[in-house]
Symmetry: C2
């Protein structure tokens, strides 16, 4: 593991740094360096385990072959899964990934973006909480793609799912299964993704001739939802609301809600049916197994990288850079049928 540098191998082999650098970067042929010399260089490099210093290389090249990933929280299984696919795909293209969690905090996100820019990432993939800096990135023409969440007013690359459709399908599923009074528990947020989910719910109700009463909708504080859940559930289930089903807009809300329902000894699905947007690892084992609108995490991750690398490397191939993917309803027991 003794460190060896480019100049060392040049010296040892009595060649110039240029020749060595060229060969090591696979530009030997195009620069007409003799096969023999090339072989000597390659062999020597391999034998001595030569490893170019990527900081030097990056500084010189003006790029780092690194993608930055900014997400709300890596310990959220949803983002962790996306991260995994991003990582895999990035590697295919020869990129590493640096990640950071914003914890849904705008300032942190801002700091993270700049910190990554300082570190000379070649591009960014962001599940953003904060519009302002996205706008700046966009104006600066820096390569990035938004995932999971996007800002309709800003023209950017993005990969999201059709939230409206997903939640509408969920709500309709409940309705189709004979539920009459469907509640909605979400997170208080200005994010378009959450807005769309609410719209999907409302649309399903109105289209089926149901009225939307505010009391049926609860939007909890993202940092305090666990405490607020009990009240929300109680309120929904008891009269006058007397709901017979609840749509949850995230997996953690669904888990938390089910926990409270159990504490309150409310039978799921006989008394109250529940359905979740996206899922946790073991939702199929839960009592009862939870019906879910599953997001295509693999596709989200792969698409994001594909779009990003395309932009970074400025390939001519015009690819679709605004992708709206679809969720898939996994029907289990929590809605009755």
């Amino acid at each position: 593991m003794k460190k060896i540098f480019l100049k060392d191998i040049a010296k040892e082999l009595n060649l110039s740094k240029t020749a060595v650098s060229l060969v090591l970067n696979n530009r030997g042929d195009e620069n007409k360096i003799s096969k023999d010399t090339q072989k000597r260089i390659l062999d020597f490099a391999k034998k001595n385990n030569y490893r170019p210093n990527q900081m030097a290389r990056g500084l010189s090249l003006g790029k780092s072959e690194t993608i930055g990933l900014i997400i709300p929280n890596i310990s959220d299984i949803f983002y962790a899964r996306i991260a995994h696919h991003i990582e895999l795909k990035a590697k295919e293209f020869g990129y590493n990934v640096v990640f950071s969690s914003s914890n849904e905090n705008a300032d942190t996100e801002k700091e993270l973006i700049y910190s990554m820019l300082n570190r000379q990432v070649d591009g960014l993939i962001i599940a953003s909480t904060n519009e302002e800096d996205i706008l700046k990135l966009s104006e600066a023409n820096f390569p990035f793609v938004l995932i999971d969440r996007h800002y309709p007013e800003i023209k950017t690359n993005y990969v999201i799912v059709d939230n409206l459709e997903g939640v509408k399908n969920m709500t309709n599923h409940l309705l189709k299964n004979g539920r009459k009074k469907v509640g909605f528990i979400s997170i208080k947020s200005q994010l378009d993704a959450l807005l769309q989910r609410r719209l999907g719910y409302e649309l399903a109700l109105t289209e089926s001739g149901n009225e939307i009463k505010a009391s049926i909708i609860k939007e909890l504080d993202p940092f305090n939802y666990q405490n607020e859940m009990k009240g929300a559930i109680k309120n929904m289930v008891k009269e006058p609301s007397g709901l017979d089903s609840i749509v949850f807009t995230t997996h953690y809300l669904a888990a938390s809600g089910l926990r409270e329902l159990k504490l309150l000894k409310i039978e799921v699905p006989s008394e109250v049916a529940i359905i979740s947007f996206d899922e946790l690892g073991a939702f199929d084992l839960v009592d009862p197994p939870i019906t879910t609108s599953k997001q295509p995490v693999d596709d989200i991750g792969n698409s994001a990288v594909e779009i990003l690398v395309n932009e970074i490397e400025n390939k001519n191939t015009k690819i679709e850079n605004e992708r709206v993917l679809h969720t898939k309803l996994l029907i289990r027991k929590s809605c009755g049928a």
Copy 2:
């Protein structure tokens, strides 16, 4: 977002790059640069949003203020949680983290380690699959700490849990609850962590006067455990084995096992009790809620960073660099009582 460089601010302010650099690195006072000059520099930098190029800085300084994290799989909630804590703690110390998944593949892990070294990470945190390269790192005196898994023959920093104790407690819990024939389902592996888990199981049995029959122990292929699970379970549950309980050594084995038990219509815990080492997000909601030996992911992450940074920065504070943490038994319904 117009890029501004050190030399720009020096020129604008009619100063030398040295002065600017010094001040920006908080070494103004110690180099007796006038308060006034310092203020001018700082103000100008802030106003123009100066952001040092970390590649250049890193190249010059010979360090990157980045920690590399290599784990088997970021989409495994266990590692994702650890990653989250590592990230948080690293930020406290001013480090970023670069992560990669080895997918339990020795070659990938090797490649990852070298790739990270090339990228000049200052230190590494590794949940390793492959002893060989750990040995090299160790010989090269490169700062790193092993987590989750360690190699008893190599002297390194590490943070692990007491696997033997954890599984022993699990097994005893089953025994205490009146189970007579306890099975063991694990992953086929040479890793010490898994060996210890098996030892814990065996120890609990022998100490309580039970005999260990090979047929009671199943070690599945890590890449094919889902397919092998059905056979394993069937085999254990039917005569002559006729087990009344099973110890699973990972959360995904437990989930998979429970899935099969349900398919086989075997009642848990009345017919067969199960217990898991570590847990998934919703193990408390599962039917039945699964008793678990929970690992202290926060402490694992925090300790690892603490030890690593200590070593990187060569602080004199002698800290314990071989930590064995303890799991905590969360008793739920899957074992009966």
